[in-house]
């Protein structure tokens, strides 16, 4: 096979100057070693991350969606669980610099159990894949018409699960096409500075770089007022909210 003009030029170049090849290989080796084995040292005076904690009080908790009156049914519908509507999400309105440097694609689960989505609210970062297992003995049909992420998983039986990846930040309302009272929220953030409240309304947002941020609490589609919070270097800022 004949050499192309480009190959011939390269051969001529390396034949004529063998020292250049050695230099190229040495440079590549040094680059590899520096990238793989030498970790960057933190500067001694770097700011230490802090945290924001507090409590979200719900003045008037939202009521769960009721079943439509089963007038056409021959009997009483099966009993179902009630969704936990007391959980809120607290998050930074704008992310600190560098918040988007790492965008790990995580996994989360929203179960369908006793005609309820569990959890009722799921807060995730962009790039997360949410699995929707069906733990009931009958069909569900998970879907969303939200602009943030439209999807329809169709009907699948107990023990099966289908995934959905969320790549855009925003609020996604999730429903079941068969059971109209089933609904849930998936709140997709483009940064990791958010936290879900526990059963008593307490929350804690970790690893927040020092600085002043607007912080908001969300519950069932209702937002609190934005509160400016200053996170001290390595310290903890407190912020309580009242929603609804």
């Amino acid at each position: 096979m004949e050499d192309t003009p480009r190959t011939q030029r390269a051969r001529t170049a390396f034949r004529g100057r063998p020292g250049r090849l050695v230099w190229v290989w040495t440079l590549a080796l040094l680059t590899f070693v520096s990238v793989v084995f030498i970790r960057p040292q933190k500067p001694l005076n770097a700011a230490r991350p802090g945290a924001i904690r507090g409590r979200v009080e719900l003045r008037r908790p939202a009521a769960p969606a009721e079943r439509r009156p089963s007038v056409a049914d021959l009997g009483t519908p099966v009993a179902r669980d009630m969704p936990d509507l007391l959980r809120s999400v607290v998050y930074l309105e704008s992310a600190p610099r560098g918040a988007f440097d790492t965008n790990e694609s995580g996994h989360a689960v929203m179960d369908q159990r006793n005609e309820t989505f569990v959890p009722h609210v799921l807060a995730i970062t962009t790039g997360t894949t949410v699995d929707f297992p069906n733990s009931d003995k009958f069909y569900h049909n998970v879907f969303s018409l939200s602009k943030t992420r439209q999807f329809d998983l169709g009907r699948y039986a107990a023990g099966n699960s289908r995934p959905v990846r969320f790549d855009r930040a925003g609020i996604v309302r999730v429903f079941c096409d068969i059971h109209s009272h089933m609904n849930a929220y998936i709140i997709v953030f483009s940064h990791p500075f958010f936290a879900m409240t526990d059963a008593e309304g307490h929350y804690r947002i970790e690893n927040v770089p020092p600085g002043t941020y607007g912080v908001i609490a969300w519950n069932e589609g209702t937002l609190s007022e934005t509160r400016p919070i200053t996170v001290p270097d390595g310290g903890i800022a407190e912020a309580d909210f009242t929603v609804r």
């Binding site: 009721e66 009156p69 056409a72 049914d73 021959l74 018409l145 439209q150 429903f175």
Partner: protein
Amino acid sequence: MIFRVARLTSLLLACAAQLAQAQRLPSEPIALADGRVTVSGDVTAGYGREDPGFFNYTDYEHSALRMFRVDVAAAVKAGPHFTVLGEIRTENLGAVQPYALFLRIRPWTTRDFDIQVGRVPPTFGAFARRTYANDNPLIGYPLGYQYLTTLRPDALPASADELLAKRGGGWLVHYTLGNPSFDPGVPLVSAFRWDTGVQAHATVGMLSAAAAVTSGTVSNPLFTDDNHGRQIATRVELRPVVGLILGTSFARGPFVSQSAAEAAVGDANVPDFTQTAWGADTEYSRDHYLLRFEAIVSRWVLPNEPAPAPLVTLQMPLTAVSLSTEGRYKLRPDFYLAARYDRLGFSDETATVGTLPWDAVVNRVEVGGGYSIQRNLLLKASFQYDHREGGRLQSLAYLPAVQLVFWF
């Protein structure tokens, strides 16, 4: 006409989009008294081509393709054992009709067993319990539940000749015996009126069964009895695997009213003049598709006193068979396609004109789709082809229609 429907579609779509954007329409039932009272609603606005062949007229004398319908349903829970359920309905802004009102009793809260008393949901068949527009993927209804045959419970043909002369005219028919006025005939099974009586329902594992004793029949449900007879209806449903439902139904009861029977045969034994119906249905769904099939066989026994010559005496029973199959496929989260094929056939009857089916055989194909503007706001469009084999009315129809459905 197609352009008018297209214009109306775009107008409905624009209005709906405005509604959806301007405000958050309620999407959940209204709950009062800590959830003990729940109220839900369905609003349907449909517009389609005129139907001079009366293929789509229901027993409320409105075309299913041109209907503005408002349903309001409510449930009042009075403890763990008792619930009162009711529904009122108005069509084309007419009088408000009480569609359902019954007491549901659950004697044991741990067992799946209920007794319902009052104007109860239909026991027979599958479609009659999903007549809400958001449960129906198309705009029209299956023929067996909607198409008006030429039979009436309060008026009777005196001969086979008189019956065959009315073929295809069930939307408005009159006979010489009984009530002389013009009124619509009955469908095989009425999906739009509910019967009055007592119903029991139980589920054990994959099997559920229901039985009811009511005052009307499946084709002529009644609020007040007209013949001192009782209908017995049963339904057995099997769910062997998730997504598959196999159902069978049976109903039998006196059909002819006391006054009509007396007009025909004098001192009549009304319980002899019955409607007996058998039904079989199946539904299978998986992923994004849903398939349904339903067959109904209905057999009426009417008074058939010897007709004066040269007329021919009616031969009993009169049988009708309805076959319906439909499918729906979701192409996108907010868009689906659907199609249904229906056939309604009738047994032969011999008269002086010859031997013919006692009513004109009807075939229907309907195709369409639905677009969800928001979760509980659906725009449907369909195209229906109807063909009637006989009768004096128009035998062919091509009926485009659009429908906007809102529910909460």
